[in-house]
Symmetry: C2
Subunit: 191 residues, 2 copies
DNA sequence: TCTTTTCGCTACCTTGGGTATCGATACCTG
DNA sequence: CAGGTATCGATACCCAAGGTAGCGAAAAGA
């Protein structure tokens, strides 16, 4: 039992600085914006060397994706009805994107992905797919409908963030809920 | 009449290559993606020197904004009812973003603006405001509602473009119309 | 022909993502 | 305690791309 599997690889173990790097990433992005939050600066803020960052993440984009995964965490799919479930999901995404640095980092890596197919694939697979699958399960909707739901919620919040530099105010999040819910609940025989 | 105003400045006149630059920008962005569509390559595709580009536009971002303004043109605010007007607007934006290079360029400059407040101001003032004002007039809605409308339509279309690399298919544009229209027409005493 | 302005060209600066190297260090095993 | 192994920090480096500067050539009008 201790030999075939990894009983722990030899050599100096990795120091547990991932959490510090994630925190440094968000605070640096919040302070300087996405483009000026260079890997050098993030590493300095985390108190490590740039080479250590590139030993753990192959690119800045993947670092950001991992950082966002850490920031979002698992989706709290709460609510007994479809309407409650969708409402809480929308508010949860809005709140997360409103957290310091998260919205900027999200919009930044999203835009990098536009001209980087490899990063787009990672963004889609590692970040979007888990939530999409969980929502498909919880809402009992086909893939294309859930993808449309994600396009709407994330797209609107990111557009507002990108255009104004500020997260969407609560009144507009309310409007978003009011707009989305009827489309996904009315006249479809699902409650 | 010929003296006080500009009777034409002396010196060599500017060659009329703006249209060629816009066309070269879109085709280069379509071929290589936003980030790899460098100013050097765009200039080469237009048959001019990079320095000529920077003589006319102070930055790549402003070049793209001008290019998008040229590509979109004035909004065709057609339709006799509010519903028709909003429908045609949504379909017009979707069609434009689906044109070769336009969606990529839009998403690219949008993401650049995330970490560049100056570019964000230009994007908001030069590109968004004209259409926002025209829509406020045509729809007789307050500014915040029109801004929300723009966030929804553009945000969704750009998110789909950024996540998949392809413009939104017609069936989903239909769903977008179906979702947006009731929110802006039902129970509000406006037709 | 002279003046003025834009042109293409080239060389250059700076920033930032990403790589390579190297001595130092931390951990486990014998 | 000695040896092996893998990570660490530091530094130097490569390359692409946005943007600038300077120059002689070309296109107009006067």
């Amino acid at each position: 039992m201790t030999s075939t599997t990894s009983a722990r690889p030899p050599g100096r173990p990795r120091s547990g600085v991932n959490a510090a790097v994630f925190a440094a990433t968000l605070s640096t992005v919040e302070e300087l914006g996405y483009a000026r939050a260079t890997v050098d600066r993030i590493a300095a803020a985390a108190g490590i060397a740039k080479s250590t960052v590139y030993r753990r993440w192959p690119s800045k984009g993947e670092l950001i994706v991992d950082c966002l995964l850490d920031a979002f965490g698992p989706a709290p799919l709460t609510g007994s009805s479809r309407a409650e479930l969708m409402t809480s999901t929308i508010r949860w995404v809005a709140a997360k994107i409103g957290e310091p640095g998260v919205g900027d980092a999200f919009a930044g890596v999203f835009s990098d992905a536009v001209s980087d197919p490899a990063l787009r694939e990672i963004l889609s697979t590692r970040l979007q797919d888990p939530y999409r699958l969980a929502l498909q399960e919880a809402l009992d909707e086909p893939e294309n409908r859930v993808l449309f739901f994600i396009d709407v919620v994330v797209g609107v919040l990111l557009h507002r963030m990108g255009m104004t530099g500020e997260p969407m105010v609560e009144a507009d999040v309310d409007a978003l809920v009011d707009m989305v819910l009827p489309h996904f609940t009315d006249g479809r025989g699902k409650m």
